[in-house]
Amino acid sequence: MSLTVAFTLNGGPVSVAVEEPERLLDTLRYRLGLTGTKEGCGEGECGACTVYLDGLPVNSCLVPTYQVRGARVETIEALDPDQLGPFLEQGATQCGACTPGVVMTALWISAHSELLETHTVRELMGGNLCRCTGYDGIVDAVATTIGEVGEGGTGKRESTAG
């Protein structure tokens, strides 16, 4: 059965006809052409499909589209590229398949830096799997973004050549 679902997407109103069991991930990618959000596992383990739902990061592969009726959805396409300098500098992306999800979670952490009073960056990034970087580049980028130097020294800072 087809349903019409209206919600706010990246600041503007949208209305889409979707099949009942359709995942938000597929609606975004295949109906609305927002392919920045990636599928990694399809079961909420890897975080590649992270979007903000009413301001909170969620795995869009686990959200039926009908559930976002009237809600606010933001995707990687809405982010300001100017915030991403540290991610480039620190080597936070390699193959790029996990990257949009990583960036969504990472920027959400920097916008909620009070969380760092109770959690480490590594703990907060634990829901985003990356198979390329070994996580140091990502952790360093988040630390740089929030102006943290703590986190007990990362691999990068110990690195030397020569």
Binding site: L88, A97, A161, G162
Partner: protein, 736 residues
Amino acid sequence: MQRREGLAKLTGRERYVDDLPLEGALWGMTVRSPAPRGRVTLVRFRPEVDWSEIVVVDHRDVPAANEILLIERDQPVLAAGYVRHVHEAVLLVAHPSREMARRAARAVDVVVAPEPPALDFRASPRPEQIQYGRDNVLKRLQIAKGDVEQALARAPVVVEGVYETGAQEHVYLETQGMIAWLEDDVLMVKGSMQCPYYVLNALQHALGRDERRVRVIQTPTGGGFGGKEEYPSTIALHAALLALKAGRPVKMVYDRPEDMASTTKRHPSLVRHRTALTTDGRLLAQDIEVVLDGGAYVTLSPVVLSRGIIHAAGPYACDNVRIVGRAMFTNAVPFGAFRGFGAPQTLFALERHMDVIARTLGLDPVELRRRNLLRDGQTTATGQVIRDGTDRIAVLERALALSGYREKQRSHEAFNAAQRSQRRGIGLATFYHGAGFTGGGEVHLNSRLQVAGLPDGRVEVLSANIEMGQGTLTVFTQIAADRLGLAPEEVVIGEPDTARVPNSGPTVASRTTMVVGRLIERAVDDLRNRVGLDDRARGAAVQDAILRWHREHRGERLVGEAVYERPPGISWDEERYQGDAYAAFAWAAYVAEVEVDLRTCTTRVIDFVAVQEVGKVINPTLARGQVQGGVVQGLGWALMEECKVEDGAMINNQLTNYIIPTSVDVPPIRVAFVENPYPHGAQGAKGLGELPIDGPAPAILNAVAAATGADPRAVPLTPERLMQLQSAEFGVRNAE
């Protein structure tokens, strides 16, 4: 230089194969074998699907040879009435709706009359299990140096050990995917892959098309790690067969469970060591047996075995070495290329064995390695004289110093005495990795590369080597720009499109920067010569000359070219397995510090130091990232990644129950490079991509052994496995 395509990836603008719009496309799905071996007696199309809407392809639709072209031609594109492993592709279906295609695939019953499968590569096959040659051996290889038997007979000490490693899934974050369509009479195939020309050759062979009627284009590839070396030929053929039959574009993108269940994995291994030594720990003889599980088809197992046995004796001087290797046929899903390519398995065995030797002889593991590490002028197992000037002892010393190895050993003693249930330990591995294809492989590849001078004065690198996260686009840009004195923006890296780029070889074997990068330098020099400049001309002079050339040769292409040339003084005897196995080796010493919880038997790596000599480091951020990522992938293989198999099928084919490291599971990976430029690599670089996955497993297990006194001989060392070891050792106490 920062990663060239980095911003596109960070903003989600990079378009992977599943992101490409494809007008009027069908979704393709695969119907697979439910059994590990047997005759297909019936294919039943259940009536809940309207089959008139579905495009169906089986083996009879393969126009030419029903063979996936690789080393051997034993693997069918689609099973023709007989299956040799679970999940073997039998039938393909396509429909405009992905959901309908999926339902159709599920509505096909493949009925197999089962025959006895061979599922344990370690056991000799029973007669009824034999399916390849006389004994199910896919490939046998041997290396011999000196007189091992005599040395073993005379030696004061002989230490034996058996080591095992499990399968490992690549978990590239982007699953396998391919699209295919017809453009006039040209079959277009586009997708995620490491080797566009492998795919091209496989398509030509099975479809009976010449190269003018097939074109293969690589799309940005979301991780490969070897998993997209040979497998993409299969999914490309499947998408192509559906597209040819349907007369419409077809897209095939595996979901994660299908990808994990049906694509290749790292070869499981069993390695036996028998080592003769002096009482003070000098190696007198190494007798090594390597057995790999090849799975149901040959795929790349012979060359994985080759690299495996060549690395099996390690970076040590020993006058008497015998290494025998065999890859076994089993009815498992075929194993294939995975970062390290056989070397991680044999180096795990060797480096764990070195610590077993040290414990047996009462020697310090560091001292044992220091006494035996190759000095310049000494030879490897294949008789290759090492003379690259790298101080391998210094690499080891650097790792000890950076990790605080001695201080930590002392502090662990105090920690372990004070703690009731936590134990800390530190472990080491010294190892090497040969860069580029093994033996005569690079000569055989005969790689060719072009650099075009464009009419607007920019230059374009035309190569078949691809970006999958490791940094090809960036490093190639740097190499060309530095050589010509140009800004990076003046260098274009052409899309890997077989209609446009020459065959510069596959993107595998840690060869891209070292071997192909060197071709860029030579092609750039050739380009400069063609516009009348010598090799010193740089910057504006080069661009002016390119612009002038185009004014004088309107409408023509300006192309510099280079073809692989073997570095001087290298020779390899394929018959005797003797000589220079690799043009260059990278050298490393890794140190892991672990904390083991004796109650839960969980192991946490709390510090990791990776020191390596990889020639000149061209891009420090990318190089460090390769090492950190490789170490973490190795840590996963060492402690948590386990493919659980029942009746030849992986049963934990999901990221929910196949566990890879998260950011919480790993410490910062501390990386250092010792630089010794290699004269025949681009800018002095050697291969780097695979090296870092060789060292973590033995270093970590050696650390667990130091922490707990246990003697683990297999990876992954899951908590369950460590608990079994502990109970075996402390059985009496537990029984009380």
